[in-house]
């Protein structure tokens, strides 16, 4: 049997996520422990939301003001992640990953309580004549959606992606790929996509509507490459070729083949990549699972290249603490598992925390451990 190592380079920063702690100087929220009397949406809003969004919804609540920030001003409308009841629920459930202190209220508010809060928030919004999305907007409902098309540049100055691919999750994340080399370009949160190419003669963009919460400029590049015996293949020498995309109620993602750099196109390995969002008690996280499909007649291994990062010695969980700034630090947990079918699988969970402390690592490790 030929040996093959796979090498995952996580060069700089990680997927971003949210910490509740940033929004509250006390402790992490806990699920309600006792039966409290039923309250209406306004009461729940005062209790859970007004600290940041303020009683009148203008986003200048005392807690957030103290932090030197401003929350979404409901009175202005223009919700980044959508203002339909469905979309608001998604935001409240998952929180907003990235730089925003908006936490997940999953486990804090019961389902019907969220509906009551949403009802109240919508009274603070400006009235709109037509709540119906435009007829070219693709909406992700209870099942992930994969969409293909030409994508606009993900950030100013980048190139457009002529063969682009979006994976939208029901929680409101959009993973954006370039099909030509099966590269993850970035992750967005919010509404899914507008099919501008349904207008005119076609050929216009499949325009993602979410806000970029992570992009390549942030530096994360996961590349899987074969390592024949002892020497690494030169960077980029092998080719990654899309094999399929999938979207079922349970999972969404894609598979690609790693092909021989000699140009003969020999398949070295088949990689299965799933993407999802994950709710933790520390906030919403992004998650990618990368699995080397069995049957490639090769033994595989995964390695991490870390730049300016810290890592734990844990056997099952390794920590990549990356990109610190004044508001916190992006942390990626990498777990290695063997699946039932014998395939090797790595799961990358990325979350944003206010600080990287041993007690946080321990708590997260406990929660994420398989």
């Amino acid at each position: 049997m030929r040996k093959l190592s796979l090498f995952v380079a996580l060069s700089m920063a990680a997927l971003a996520a949210v910490s509740l702690a940033a929004a509250s100087s006390s402790s992490f929220p806990r699920a309600q422990e006792s039966d409290e009397p039923a309250h209406d949406g306004k009461w729940l809003y005062s209790r859970h939301c007004a600290g940041c969004h303020n009683e009148n919804g203008d986003g200048r609540g005392p807690t957030i003001t103290q932090m030197g920030l401003q929350a979404r001003d409901f009175k202005q409308g223009g919700f980044a992640f959508g203002d339909s009841p469905e979309q608001l629920k998604r935001t409240i459930t998952s929180g907003i990953p990235g730089r925003s202190p908006m936490p997940s209220f999953k486990g804090v508010l019961a389902d019907e309580e969220m509906d009551l809060v949403i009802g109240h928030v919508r009274t603070l919004m400006p009235k709109r004549e037509n709540d119906k999305p435009s007829n070219t907007e693709m909406i992700v409902k209870d099942r992930p959606v994969v969409a293909r098309g030409k994508l606009p540049p993900i950030v100013d100055g980048a190139k457009e992606t002529t063969r682009g691919l979006l994976v939208g999750t029901p929680e409101g994340l959009t993973f954006e790929y370039d099909v030509s080399d099966v590269r993850l370009l970035g992750v967005r949160m919010g509404r899914f996509a507008d099919r501008e190419d349904w207008g005119d003669r076609g050929g216009a963009y499949l325009k993602p509507l979410g806000r970029v919460i992570w992009d390549r400029a942030d530096g994360l590049a996961v590349s899987v490459k074969p390592k024949p015996e002892s020497s690494y293949a030169p960077m980029g020498a092998n080719r990654r070729v899309l094999k399929n995309t999938f979207a079922t109620k349970a999972a969404a993602g894609l598979e690609f083949e790693l092909r021989d750099h000699e140009g003969k196109g020999r398949v070295l390995a088949t990689i299965h990549e799933e993407v999802r969002s994950r709710t933790t008690s520390f906030g919403a996280a992004l998650e990618r699972s990368i699995r080397v499909q069995p049957g490639s007649q090769m033994e595989v291994a995964l390695a991490f290249k870390l730049e300016g990062s810290e890592e734990s010695d844990g056997k099952t969980v390794r920590w990549l603490a990356q990109r610190r700034d004044k508001d916190g630090v992006d942390v990626t947990a990498v777990r290695r598992q063997s699946t039932a079918s014998g395939a090797e699988q790595w799961t990358l969970t990325s979350i944003r925390l206010p600080a990287w402390a041993p007690q946080l690592a321990a708590a997260l490790e406990k929660e994420l451990a398989p």
């Binding site: 293909r148 005119d200 076609g202 999938f246």
Partner: protein
């Protein structure tokens, strides 16, 4: 001739619907089915892919009542889907960048996995790079065809900037693929016959004089050069195909050229393999046609090993047909989409054509014999064959193979009918003709054919593409004949005058017009300033009126024979127009949804004030793609001609008018100004944009004068093309001769002609200024350091100095940027003393842009000189000539 009238009066009128009925499936409320491909699953369900990248399952597609066919969404999010084929129950869909297999693993009616079956051909991102499919041959190979793009939307030259654009591909059952044949332009439909031979249809445009059907053979080249970029001969030598030179590559001959009045936008073709369930046309091909909404019927025969054949109209006004497919019960399914082009309603959805069981009286088939045709009919022909003879109309024609967009019919020649004879069984007529030629299409009309029971033909015309006569030596003549190519209309921007670049309003007069980017207002009825838009390569912001108190926008310059192009944008119900010479109006209008086009619709030539003298001319198509979108209007115009006494001897003429890539008017004479045009007819007049009928925005106005021939022979060279001997250089400037051109670089300096006594004269030169450069053509100037005395005709395209080319510095300034940087232009200056002062006229690219009388006669006589303005500026001059006036 009384006979034909008598017989026609006796003919029994029949309509297509008596024999073939059309109905329409009912998609779910609010859904538009823009069909790209469809096929049937083994269980009888139809599966249909759309331009929206959706794939629909249709239960019960053969239901008697079309409303009983039920739609469910199987997949969405594909990058279009302009070809679909079911193979052994598996669904294959062609996306822009790949051929995919759609899998429903858990059988819940929703696709959950999309396998990339084949990929690797190029896609640059241009809208026109559609991929079409998807028939299979006997070996199970798929075929796909790839459109070229247009990098220059001003003249619609097709380009192939990504691999195998303009090719037909063969995709093998293992997913590997190979390019098979090149030379396609807009190959919107493919089809296979029952032998497994593959055919494709193309669309009229550059190098495609009309819409053809080609047999796809390995290594064939169909005629559009762009695709040759990917052949080894070009690729390995770093060559790219020319837009305007015919390539020296052997061309395949189209099996059938579809008459343009029958097919303007051709889709796919299918063979009737229903075994008679669709009527009497088994084994023949049916062809989808979008613009007219026709289904055409065609047959081919093999002569000297090559397919050629005939075509007839089959069914009119079915819908914007792009895809056809037969169902097992003999129903012909028709898939529609016309988004962005405008076709016959319905513009989307699925129609069904079904045979009623009644036998139509039709031309069944046509067979070419050496000197005529054997024409078979579906029913017995009346024995009154003399009437057929008397009324038959036969003409032959061919086309130009050239880079122009489409070709008019060429060499249209009537052919005399020598004899007609009815066969013993009365089912066929043999028609012998005088002078029938290969390398031409024969169009034959047979109004006199009546059935024995007195029925007239349902369709009495056919067109046969004769590449080869049976029994004759092999001929190589093409129907699309190589002709001397028209002069390239544009090489770069040479000869073009830009009227909306730089400080654009300086080139126009007009009340209420401003220069800013615009967009559609939220109500779609108005235009508003779009502060966010960035200036683009159309030469900066649009100029527009946003409604209110506005008048027409009239160019400060006057033109005669010109090529022109203008971008325009209208709001909903917008109405404007462009008057050539201020007199002859091309209507610009929101004609969305208009099916009966008139002269008042977008691209129409408006009627005259006296509609009896000039009723106007409707555009051939509805091309308005929607409010708030930029459209490109281009064309070629010829001013009226006058004799020496001022009497008109030739009418004004629109040689062609196009909107985007669609030809709307061609060789159209206009005998009077259109309503609202300036009175009288003259040799030169301004461009005039109608501004009092509501908001409109224009940009990218380009005019190229065709009055560029000066037949006077008494021009004298000032510069011999070799040396600067005798010339004087001030300030130690760097002036040299390179390639027969004077080139000025380096520090500021002037180059003075040897003679210094030019007084009354015309001087002309070809000049080129670089980006950021600044120069001037001086005259009546005196040698001296620094900025010399004298008149200066400014040369400046993009230097910060707001005074641009065409200006007479200090006296009469032009701030519009009329010519591009790095582009040769013709400069012509006239200077002469008149009783009231010194007359100075400046022409740029043969258009008078400045006419000034210097009453104070500032400069009397002197040198001709060129300026080098600053380090970094580069001025080039050649063909510097003078003609002294005495």
């Amino acid at each position: 001739m009384i006979l034909p009238l008598f017989f026609q009066a006796a003919a029994i009128a029949a309509s297509e619907a008596d024999f073939y009925k059309v109905d329409y499936l009912v998609p779910p409320q609010g859904e538009r089915l823009e069909v790209g491909g469809f096929d049937f699953l083994p269980d009888g369900r139809m599966v249909c892919s759309t331009r929206r990248g959706q794939v629909w399952l249709i239960e019960n597609p053969l239901a008697e009542n079309p409303a009983d066919a039920k739609f469910s969404l199987f997949a969405e999010g594909l990058h279009e889907g302009l070809g679909l084929e079911v193979v052994n129950g598996e669904i294959f869909v062609l996306q822009r960048g790949e051929l995919s297999k759609l899998v429903d693993e858990d059988k819940d009616g929703t696709c959950d996995r999309i396998d990339t079956f084949s990929q690797g051909w190029g896609y640059s991102g241009h809208y026109h790079e559609f991929g079409f499919g998807l028939p299979r041959d006997a070996q199970g190979n798929f075929y796909a065809s790839l459109n070229v793009s247009f990098s220059d939307e001003k003249w619609w030259h097709g380009r192939s900037v990504a691999p195998y654009r303009g090719w037909v591909l063969r995709i093998k059952p293992d997913g590997s693929w190979e390019p098979v044949a090149s030379g396609a332009r807009s190959p919107a439909g493919l089809g296979a016959n029952s032998k497994g031979d593959i055919f494709y249809t193309d669309n009229q445009g550059d190098w495609m004089p009309a819409c053809p059907i080609f047999h796809v053979k390995d290594c064939a080249f169909f005629g559009h050069p762009a695709s040759l970029n990917w052949t080894p001969e070009y690729r390995d030598n770093g060559r790219t195909a020319s837009d305007t030179d015919a390539p020296k590559v052997e061309r395949a001959r189209a099996a059938i050229w579809l008459p343009y009045d029958w097919s303007r936008s051709t889709g796919n073709l299918v063979e009737d393999t229903t075994g008679g369930k669709f009527g009497p046309f088994g084994g023949q091909m049916f062809v989808a046609e979008m613009t007219n909404g026709y289904v055409l019927r065609a047959g081919m025969e093999t002569i000297e090993g090559e397919y050629q054949g005939w075509v007839v109209p089959f069914r009119h006004k079915v819908g914007s047909n792009v895809r056809l497919r037969f169902a097992s019960d003999g129903t012909l399914f028709c898939g529609f989409t016309d988004r962005g082009w405008g076709g016959q309603p319905p513009g989307d959805g699925i129609g069904r054509v079904r045979w009623t069981g009644k036998q139509p009286f039709e031309i069944e088939s046509v067979h070419l014999i050496g000197d005529g045709f054997e024409i078979r009919f579906t029913d017995k022909v009346s024995r009154a064959i003399a009437n057929v003879f008397a009324t038959a109309e036969v003409k032959q024609y061919d086309y130009n193979y050239w880079w122009e967009y489409g070709s008019p019919l060429q060499h249209v020649t009537p052919r005399a009918v020598l004899s007609t004879a009815l066969s013993e069984d009365q089912l066929s007529v043999t028609m012998r003709l005088h002078g029938l030629e290969a390398g031409m299409v024969a169009r034959v009309r047979l109004p006199g054919v009546l059935s024995e029971s007195g029925a007239a033909l349902l369709h009495d015309e056919f067109a046969y593409t004769i590449n080869q006569m049976p029994g004759y030596p092999q001929k190589t003549a093409h129907v699309a004949k190589l002709v001397e190519q028209p002069e390239a209309r544009e090489s770069g921007n040479e000869g073009v005058l830009f009227l909306t670049h730089g400080d654009a309003l300086a080139a126009w007069n007009g009340k209420g017009w401003q220069q800013s980017e615009v967009k559609l207002a939220d109500d779609k009825k108005q235009l508003v300033v779009n502060a966010e838009a960035k200036a683009d390569d159309w030469g900066g912001p649009a100029i527009n009126n946003l409604g209110g108190e506005t008048g027409d926008l009239v160019s400060r310059f006057e033109f005669g024979d010109i090529d022109f192009s203008v971008q325009f944008l209208l709001p909903e119900n917008g109405n404007s127009g462009i008057y050539l010479m201020g007199r002859y109006e091309i209507q610009l209008r929101d004609s969305s949804g208009v099916t009966q086009l008139g002269p008042g619709d977008c691209g129409g030539i408006y009627a005259g004030a006296d509609a009896k003298k000039w009723p106007g001319s409707a555009p051939t198509f509805q091309t308005f793609r929607g409010a708030g979108r930029w459209h490109s209007l281009s064309g070629s115009f010829q001013a009226p001609r006058f004799d020496a006494q001022g009497k008109k001897i030739a009418n004004a003429k629109f040689k062609r008018v196009m909107i985007d890539d669609t030809l709307l008017q061609e060789e159209l004479e206009v005998p009077t100004p259109t309503a609202g045009g300036y009175a009288g007819e003259v040799a030169h007049g301004p461009l005039r944009i109608q501004g009092d009928h509501g908001p409109v925005a224009i940009r990218g106005v380009r005019v190229k004068s065709r009055e560029n021939v000066d037949e006077r022979t008494d021009w004298v060279k000032i510069f011999d093309g070799e040396t600067l001997d005798g010339w004087q250089i001030s300030n130690d400037g760097k002036w040299v001769v390179e390639n027969g051109e004077i080139v000025g670089r380096g520090n500021a300096s002037h180059l003075f002609s040897p003679r210094g006594d030019y007084k009354d004269f015309e001087v002309r030169a070809k000049l080129r200024i670089n980006g950021g450069g600044n120069s001037g053509l001086y005259f009546r100037t005196k040698f001296g350091p620094n900025w010399p005395e004298g008149y200066e005709a400014q040369i400046n395209s993009t230097h910060a100095d707001p005074v641009k080319t065409g200006s007479l510095y200090h006296y009469s300034l032009l701030k519009a940027q009329l010519v591009s940087q790095d582009t040769w232009f013709d400069y012509h200056v006239l200077c002469k003393d008149e009783p009231e002062g010194t007359r100075i006229q400046i022409r740029v690219n043969h258009v008078l842009v400045n006419d000034y009388l210097d009453k104070d006669r500032h400069h009397a006589a002197g040198h001709i000189a060129l300026q080098q303005h600053h380090e970094g500026s580069v001025i080039r001059a050649k063909d510097l000539e003078i003609r002294e006036l005495r």
